[in-house]
Amino acid sequence: MKSRTRIPTTPLLMILPSFLLAMSIIGYPILDLAWTSMQEVSRFGKMMGFIGLANFAEVFRDPLFYSSLVRTLIWTVAVVGGTLIMSLPIAIMLNDDFHGRGLARVIVMLPWAISLTMTAVLWRWSLNGRAGLINATLMDFHIITEPIEWLATAPLAFTVEILVGILVSIPFTTTIFLGGLSSLPQDSYEAAVVDGAKPWELFRYITLPLMKPFINIAIVLNVIYVFNSLPIIWVMTEGGPANGTDILVTYLYKLAFRFGQLGKASAISLIMFFVLFVFTIAYVLMVMRQEHDSTAEEVKNDA
């Protein structure tokens, strides 16, 4: 019988096509951005010569960069925090058996099925100050007397965008938590119930600690996704009014494709890339540690 390990080139050939494609589509643009960020670039994308770190210096002098940066932090922390606080109880409920659970799962997961662009278009129209049906509903219930212009002032528009951001992040996060909950050992719950533990104590001392790895992964993945999310803000307000809802990605997009400041846009892309890189390393380390733990557990169980 042939030994499979004698031909180690086979698996390498099998991964080669996907590796090459990823390198050229994801790896090459990073190098190109690094190169462009150190060039003086004309409005039409022509390279005018090497200028070192001048583009970065310009970015760090730009007040709009700082206000977008601060707003990116608020956006990321608020959306990820809100999503986690909502998703864990939802996942615990959806993991439990109750009447109509199938329907509840479908509704909670629904925003995931719809493109963020479409969701944002729907909200932009629903929140329309003059004809929006959100205003109509709130007026019908006498919660407000006058229609509200939700998207006309930056602070209110940004708050609304954060809430929509939370809404669309819940399905993915809940899915991670459901995966985690279904892997929890049932016997520890039974033992605790026998010992007279109350539901809150079960949550606090069993569910929460055992769910910790899944919560960590949900935090890191959501931070990465939310930090990078363009469609909601772009479709609802395009970063306006008066750059008042710009986060880094919308500001970057404007610089690159509206104002033609390619050098500066490349510099911001690169800065964002490094932030993302740090989070990615954190994620990879976390996944590796968890894998390590679960193999250690398997070894222990085998013994």
Partner: protein, 276 residues
């Protein structure tokens, strides 16, 4: 009242605010898509309207080139899904069945590519496509969607491949089959359900993608659905909201139904160790 019924009522009570907020914009979508144009801007705004105007859909289809955008979206999503699956099967199989040096490195590389979002690279990608003369070509989207989806497809396929017992292939090797025939005749047929599920999620991802389509496609005839609908809302003095909502109904409802039907596989995929 049985304890289960009590619990169900409590859970639905707790979940209902969220469900209302999720469903509300879809309600808005349907009532706007079906109302006559002159009832869009009435004051005070109301949910009710005088008649179901199904012609809105026909009008929208003709006026906004919806059919063209639909075909573009279908072409891009189908092609990129097929290529992504074809490239991912060998990679997932290698990760699932072989021990080789660089395996851990390759998995981490995949994780990293998954973290890289199109928006951070969009300027570099745009310049790459200019060099390749692919700007304005739907194939630029196909290539990038394949690359950005591949980590997900490999990861999903691998987690299902791991559940297919090795013994089946080993038995066929003993019967004298080469590893290639055992792969094609024994393994792949067993993996069909996993491939279908993965393919559908890849399709939905490509179908919904916005940033790259907005950037790499410049001519109106080549717009995919999200960009086409966005272009009817953004930077217009007068937005034909009943057309926009009719287009949104057609673009989202079929995908939402398929997704709702398949979402349990995604949860199972996560439980099978996709998160690990």
């Amino acid at each position: 009242m049985t304890p289960k019924l009590k619990k169900s009522l409590l859970y639905w009570l707790l979940l209902s605010p969220l469900c209302v907020v999720i469903l509300l914009p879809f309600g808005v979508m349907f009532v706007t898509a079906l109302r006559p144009r002159d009832e869009l801007f009435v004051y005070p705004p109301t949910w009710t309207f005088s008649e179901f105007r199904w012609e809105n859909f026909v009008e929208m289809w003709v006026k906004t080139n919806f059919g063209g955008a639909l075909l573009n979206s279908l072409y891009v999503s189908v092609t990129s899904t097929i290529i992504a699956i074809v490239l991912s099967i060998p990679a997932a199989y290698a990760l699932s069945r072989y021990r080789f040096s660089g395996k851990g490195l390759y998995r981490n590389f995949l994780l990293m590519t998954q973290m890289m979002s199109p928006i951070v690279l969009v300027l570099g990608l745009f310049r790459l496509m200019v060099h390749l003369n692919l700007v304005n070509s739907l194939n630029s989207l196909v290539v990038t969607y394949v690359a950005f989806n591949m980590a997900f497809t490999i990861w999903m396929l691998q987690s299902y491949f791991n559940t297919i017992p090795r013994e089946l292939e080993e038995a066929s090797w003993i019967d004298g089959a080469t590893s290639f025939t055992s792969l094609v005749k024994i393994f792949l047929p067993l993996a069909v359900p996993a491939m279908v599920v993965t393919a559908i999620f890849t399709f939905i991802n490509s179908w919904n993608e916005f940033v790259l389509a907005l950037t790499l496609i410049r001519s109106q005839n080549d717009y995919t659905l999200p960009v086409q609908i966005f272009s009817q809302v953004a930077g217009r003095y007068q937005v034909e909201w009943h057309h926009v909502m009719a287009a949104t109904v057609l673009a989202t409802v079929p995908v939402a139904i398929v997704f709702s039907w398949l979402q349990r596989y995604l949860i199972r995929g996560m439980a099978l160790g996709a998160v690990k």
